[in-house]
Each structure stands twice: as C-alpha cells, then as structure tokens.
Assembly symmetry: C2
Homo-oligomer: 417 residues x 2
C-alpha cells in the first residue's frame, strides 16, 4: 500500500478515534500490553532476524544492544503502555469557559490533532511508546522505524493492532510503513492535509533531513547542550552535587549537563573541588584558561577549543568556563545553548528570577539537576520527546502536546450587532 493511501485510511480512523471515550481507549491499550507479553516468543524470533542482519551489516555493539528485545524489555514495553492507559484522558477537557457581557459562554475544548507521523531510528520500543501516546490522545499514527528494526517493529505493530481490534477500533489507527524503501519517508512528508504533524525521533541527520523536506509541521525532538551555572551566591556543596548529578548520573542523554559555568568570585573555591571529583568519576575536562589556572597541578585537563562550547558530548566530557558574573553567563547560554535545559545554582532571589526570565530555553531551572528535564519527572506521565521549538509545544511533549484546543461557544440565540 502506498503511503498516501495509508494516510487516507489514517484520516478516517482518526475521526473514529477522536470520538472514542477514555474507557474504550484504555481497554485497547491494556489489550496491546497483554498481547505483547503473549507474543513475546514471536517478538524475540522476529527481533533475531533484525539482530542477524545487523551483525551481518557490521553495526556497532552499542547499536545492536539498542536493537535487542529480550523478555525484560518486552515486559518494560508492556508496562509503558499500561502506564499510558493509567493517565487521565486529555480529550474533551474544557478550559477557560467564561461568560461574555452578552451572555455567550466562550471556552476551549481539548481535541486530538488528527494524524501523527512518527519517524524514528533503532530502538523498537519506540513503536509501542509512540503508538500508545497517540491512541491515548485520540490520534491515529503512521509509524516509520529504521530499516534495521524492520521485523521487530512489524511484529510489535501487529500486537498493537490486535488491541485496537479487540474494542472495535479501526486497525488503521496504528499503521506501520512496511517497506524499507527510503522514498517512503519522503512520501509521508508530502501528505499535507492528511497528516497533521510529523515527530522525528533520532539523530541530528535524520531530523535535519525531515525539516528540510517536510511540507507538514514538525515537532522537533532535538538534542541538548545544557548548562549549569554556579552563581557567586551559590551554596557550593549544592553546586557540587548538582554538577556531578547533571553531568555524570547518565551521560549519553540530552538533558545531561555539557558545560559548567562558574562565577569568578567562587571559582577558586569551587573549581578545584568539583574538577577533582569529576576526574575521579572518569570525566574528561575541557577548560578555559582561567579554569586551568585554578586547577591543582597535575589534574588532567585539556584546553577548550571554540567548538567545545557548541558541542553536545553525550559522553563523560565537560567543558568548563569561568564567567565574570550572571550577565556573562546568560550571554554565554544565549550564544551556545541548544535551548533545551539550563540551570542556575544560587541562593540569591534576584539572580534566580533574572535567570528564569532571561534564559530563553525550553526548561530553565533553579537549584535542580539538569537531568530532571523529562516528561516523567515533570509530571506529564510519559513523553514523546522534548521539543526545543517555541511553537505549539516546548519542552517535554506529553499527551497535551499531541492535542489542540478548539473554541466552543455556548449561546442562546445571541446576534452580533
């Protein structure tokens, strides 16, 4: 089936799904979860076909590990769907209903976007996660995973479709593009009017290509160059633990701290301690000249190059810079941040407020680890990704980000004068 036809079917299914009550959607999701567990042996078989191809194609060990489905991962996938089922239904919520002077009541009702295209790479669990969030929010979804996970994704999708069928929902609400032909992505990106939004999940190259080609709005799930700024008024013990946690709690993720900025007035007291602890934890340091001058002789570090300030390491590497104060810290962030998440550590009320207001990033934090920038930690329940765009949805994309609001007007015969 060509992608345009799939999109037409998705549009029809989306109308049905948008009208569906929460109980029915939840029953479909719970059946999907149960079906994944029941089908675990078949899922592993299909996954083996992908793993064999990956080995034959010489994929890296890390890539192959991400691709692998074992019983634990299948169970986690099922549990993820059950957690989405447990979230409140966002659809139909009416907000801000206010009376106008003429008696009209005007409010906004939350409704699904319609049809969502999700384009992703590598990890097959995205198939289940993304579909569950779309179904819960009343949207039909067209999935396009990486060719390396072709058999796994197809097998997972079959389980999801059984969940839809079990409650009489059209199976076209969750479709998987079953071709490894790369032109299918281009076809999907040209389905304007049928597909309402595209959500890519993957590396920068994939996302850049999608942005360049898409005729449909894209919610970008981008990587992060996150900063932790230790203010002159910081509690230095707190700053130490937040820096260690922000950088080292997990390094290969988009909300890890990549750059540490330190106010000059606390640099001499703070930098030797934090840098020694980072080194002891196995972190490479790329430092500015003022930082270097403060570090104990013999502590291994390298001179930061200009490109370091714009690099997302996704690794145990930290760039470190001394700044003259809050203004220079904010300017550095303005210039180099990927506008994902930036943190100030301070006890000063005015500096905290100024940082919150002036830093133009999706998440701005005071005295917290950058690692908290995440849909689950923010209380959204689950996330589709993190948007570094400003329009529609910014920061973690949960169920609300997959919906829109329409105005509703309740009158009793009002006429415009």
């Amino acid at each position: 089936m060509n992608v345009m036809t799939m999109a037409q079917h998705a549009r029809q299914a989306a109308r049905r799904l948008a009208m569906m009550d929460g109980l029915t959607k939840n029953r479909a999701l719970l059946t999907m979860a149960a079906q994944l567990l029941r089908d675990a042996p078949r899922l592993r078989e299909e996954n083996d076909r992908d793993l064999q191809a990956a080995q034959a194609n010489g994929l890296s060990g890390a890539m192959i590990d991400r691709l692998r489905l074992n019983d634990d991962r299948i169970a986690a996938m099922a549990e993820g769907i059950r957690q989405v089922a447990a979230l409140p239904d966002p659809v139909g919520e009416i907000a801000d209903l206010k009376s106008r002077p003429n008696g009209l009541r005007v409010g906004r009702m939350r409704v699904p976007l319609g049809v969502i295209g999700v384009i992703y790479e590598s990890r097959p669990n995205v198939t289940a996660d993304a579909a569950a969030l779309c179904v819960k929010s009343g949207n039909a979804v067209i999935l396009r995973g990486g060719s390396e996970a072709y058999y796994s994704n197809r097998a997972i999708t079959r389980c999801l479709m059984e969940g839809l069928q079990s409650v009489g929902l059209p199976t076209e609400a969750v479709q998987y593009i079953e071709t490894t032909d790369r032109s299918a992505v281009g076809e999907l990106l040209r389905c304007e009017g049928l597909v309402d939004v595209i959500i890519p999940r993957g590396g920068k190259e994939l996302i850049a290509r999608i942005i360049a080609e898409s005729r449909i709005p894209v919610i970008k799930h981008l990587d992060g160059i996150c900063h932790t700024y230790v203010d002159g008024e910081a509690d230095l013990e707190m700053a130490l633990s937040l820096t260690m946690n922000g950088k080292m709690q997990r390094t290969g993720v988009c909300n890890a701290t990549e750059t540490l900025l330190v106010h000059q007035s606390v640099a001499a007291a703070f930098l030797p301690v934090v840098c020694q602890q980072l080194r002891a934890a196995g972190c490479e340091l790329r430092v500015c000249p003022r930082t270097k001058a403060l570090l104990p002789a013999g502590l291994p570090c390298v001179d930061a190059q200009p490109e370091d300030w714009d690099t997302e390491y996704l690794d145990a590497i930290l760039s470190v810079r001394v700044v003259e104060g809050l203004t220079e810290a904010i300017e550095h962030i303005e210039r180099h941040s990927s506008r994902h998440t930036d943190v100030i550590v301070t006890r000063d009320y005015g500096n905290a407020l100024r940082f919150l207001r002036e830093v133009d990033s999706a998440s701005v934090m005071v005295n917290a680890s950058s690692r908290f920038s995440d849909g689950f930690e923010f209380g959204l329940g689950a996330e589709m990704g993190i948007s570094t765009d400003k329009l529609h949805v910014r920061g973690p994309v949960g169920l609300e980000g997959l919906t829109t609001q329409k105005y509703i007007v309740l009158g009793d015969g009002q006429l415009r004068q």
Copy 2:
C-alpha cells in the same frame, strides 16, 4: 539594508523587549498612538501619494477605499493601539506550578516568541495593529505591507518608532521592509533561526505563496466557509434570526455563514420563511433540489453546483441544503468546511454536545451567530487574525497566540536518582 540584516537587528531588539516590564511597553504604545494623531497631516500627505499611484494604476474603487487614510481612520488606528496598551501583559505569567513528590516545583512561564514577520496587503492600519500586538507581547516585528500602501506604511512606522524611542527601546523592535522589490518577501521567509514565525494577512494567493516558500513556521490567517446547521430540534425563530445575522449582518468577512444546512424534519416549516426573508434582504440563494421543491413558486433561486459547497462567497449569496439529520450535517461540514467556524441551532442537549465534540473546526458554536467568531467578541481584546491551523494557536490569535511557554523548575538541590 537587506532583510537578513534587519532580522539580525530584530533578534537583538527582541532580547531587550522580552525583558521590558509592562509599564514601559504601555508607555511606548501610548506614545505611538499620540504620535499618529500628531502626525495626521503628514500621514494623509503620504497616503495621498499612494492613492494617486493607485488611481494611476487603475486599482478598483473598493481597493482605493481600503487604502485611504482619513482623520477618522487615523484616530481609529490610535485608539486601537491604546486598547492594546490597556490589555493585561501576557509575559511572565506563571501557570500550573505544581509540586512533584521530590519537592521540585514545576510550572510554565509565558514568554514572547521572539521575532515575528507580518506580511500583509492593502489596508495601512494593519501596520499599527500588528506592531502594537507584537510590542505588547514582547516580540520584535518585521513588517512587509503591500507596495500599494508603501508611503502610508512607511509614515506609520516612523510614528511607531518614535514611541519605542521615547522609552529607550531599540527602534529595531518595529521595522518596515522599505523596498517594493518582491524578492524581499522571499528573503524574509528564509530567515529561519532569526525570525520565529510568519503571519500573513491577505488573500488566498498571498498565503499560498508564503506557505509554499517559507522555511519558518506560518500562522495562517485564512478565510472561512462557515456553516449554520438548523437541527430538527431547533427553535425555528432563533434559527431564523441566527441565519439572517450569520449571513447578512456583514457579508464580506470570513466569519459570515456561507452555507445553511437544514434538517429534513423542519425543512418544510423553516426554508420558505428564511429564504423569503433572505431574498427580501437581497441575498442570492443557491439551493439543493430538496430545498428548491419546498420554496414558494416564483421565489428566485439557482441550482447549487458542486463547487458552491466549497465556495467562500464573501458576498450576499448563500448555499442551502436539506440534510437527513445531524450525522449528514456533520459529514457535510467535515467535507466542505474550511474549519473556521460552524454553528448548530438546537434545543437538544445530546445533539449540541455531539456537534461540539465532532465538528473539527477552530470555533464550534451552539445557538450563536457565526459572526461572533472574532478575537474581540471572544474576549481576547484584539486579534492578529484567525488561525485555521491546529498547531500552536487555533481560532482568533490574540496576545497569547504571540507568546510561548517555557518550563520553569524551582528546586533546592534535588538530584536525580
């Protein structure tokens, strides 16, 4: 100055404007309004140059009328700016601040989008309206009006810049593209990374061109094919007045009713009355065969052609169709509506709720005139346009639609486990 350079200046100015308190922005707006009144003689002079060119170029009388600035219109423009100044400042509002189990408080702060590009035609007052809304919402704006209003728009922009200067704001916060070279629009549409959103105001051709060319997200201000559906359970007197008001109160506007749908069970009682009254008011009728059979002999009407259901008349013309019931009405709207505004007239609770839920338009109304679909009538204070898109902002675009939210996180040293 080329457009890219203007956009860079706008970006700088936007940073300053985003930090500005409401009082300063309001003082700038009030000075703009005063300056327009003070400069009225010069504005009329510059406007005369545009009017003479328009006459020489053979523009229609209606176009020339839209272009004209007289003292009343200048006063209205100034009053519009004062009304925007009187609105609450949307910037800095913190919403949904909630405590997480670990004590983190997570909320969302409303902030400006950054730099907005507004591309418009004909009426010079858009220059002042759009700029006022952008400044109030903390955004820098790059304006590009139609070449037919070149001198008028330039003169208005000078007044706006004086308002900025009077409070020490950078004049680059409001810039006008002072060239009639059409390639300037293309340049603006390629300023991704500098300009955050493009808002076109004008005819379908202009908007289609912008959507096709833009590398920047577009908030579309589209026209309307609005429906009024008279249900089998309607109060027919109310249906009569809502139909007359929706169609005839003003015909050349996007929220006028273009199609009347009538439930077959009330068609015989309702259609002869409403159609006679519409004809008496000078409205042309384009009717389906079932409607025609019910109209009094001799009442002038024409057979609706298939394209009538997809036509925005913007004139005293109404297409009329009898439907079998609510389901067929919703299906008709799904197929033919431009998703701007659709109305049901009914006394039935279930039908009202079903229409509200199932009709996928920016504004969905029960027992109200479609003519109420408007930012001012909805209580937004003023509007930049009406979005028929689903992402970011849907329906009337007021100050909130020109802003975004960032997550703010207030901690006291929390670490991620």
